[in-house]
Symmetry: C2
Subunit: 146 residues, 2 copies
Amino acid sequence: MFSKTCEYAIRATIYIASEYKNEEKIGIHDICQNIEAPQHFVAKILQVLSRHDIVSSKKGVHGGFYITEEQRDTRLIDIVYAIDGDHVFTGCALGLKQCSETKPCPIHYKFKPVRENLKKVLQDTRIRELAENIKKGKFVLKALGI
Amino acid sequence: MFSKTCEYAIRATIYIASEYKNEEKIGIHDICQNIEAPQHFVAKILQVLSRHDIVSSKKGVHGGFYITEEQRDTRLIDIVYAIDGDHVFTGCALGLKQCSETKPCPIHYKFKPVRENLKKVLQDTRIRELAENIKKGKFVLKALGI
DNA sequence: CTTAAAAGATGATAATCATCATGTTTGATG
DNA sequence: CATCAAACATGATGATTATCATCTTTTAAG
């Protein structure tokens, strides 16, 4: 559904939001270990997220990634747009360039509710809520090693 | 949502179903021209569809691709399964290996209805219906050149 | 029974996406 | 103000996906 890049982006953002407290920034190493993702790759992704004002970062000693109160209001759709663009929402399911409401492909209207459903979920889900649920232990971001 | 391979597979199948009549098989060249897809690539895909009994083919002079009455009952989900596998339906939206009903990722339950919705659409849509609609001119598979 | 037109099979190339590596800039701290 | 730990930037490699090319097999028809 999303690119791997986007999956990592969402996981990293949720992790940062669930861990950040007391002004202690979170290092890339810590992040990657806990979301089980390749370090260099995620570093690159976090730079993009940072430029899009989805997460914050600070260089230097005691630097790292963190998230502000405002940024906790980020909706999943913002991350998807920042990384994957609008393709998931607007692109034709059959890959037809000219497919539209007036020139629909054979399955255009059948997929419309699916798309709208997806969009709604992404619009209604905020990082804040997901991070809270992680903290409560309701959900997991990685398999817990015994 | 689907791979390009899968998009071409669906388009080709619909085209064959909408064009085939009077036992006249449809050549790969004709198909590719009308669905605007690369010939060699689609040839490969049609071989897979043929092996999966989604379309039929005949070699030699006056050979080509065609579709039987039974094959017109093929549902879109059959094509997706044949080409892309079950990843769209079962894979975690965040790419987590261990994500499941008992160990859900943070957005697992939010995406569940989206997935079910998608699956239902694919299950309820048959090639027969799509081909009929093409014939009636209600939908298009390619941009009509002026 | 030879020919030609079609799909079938397999392997090679190209493009895209994911991952890795290396060096640069920033900023707190002694 | 030198040092070091962090993110930042950019380019290189690897893997996967999409596309192309070449040859083989089948089959109707002269």
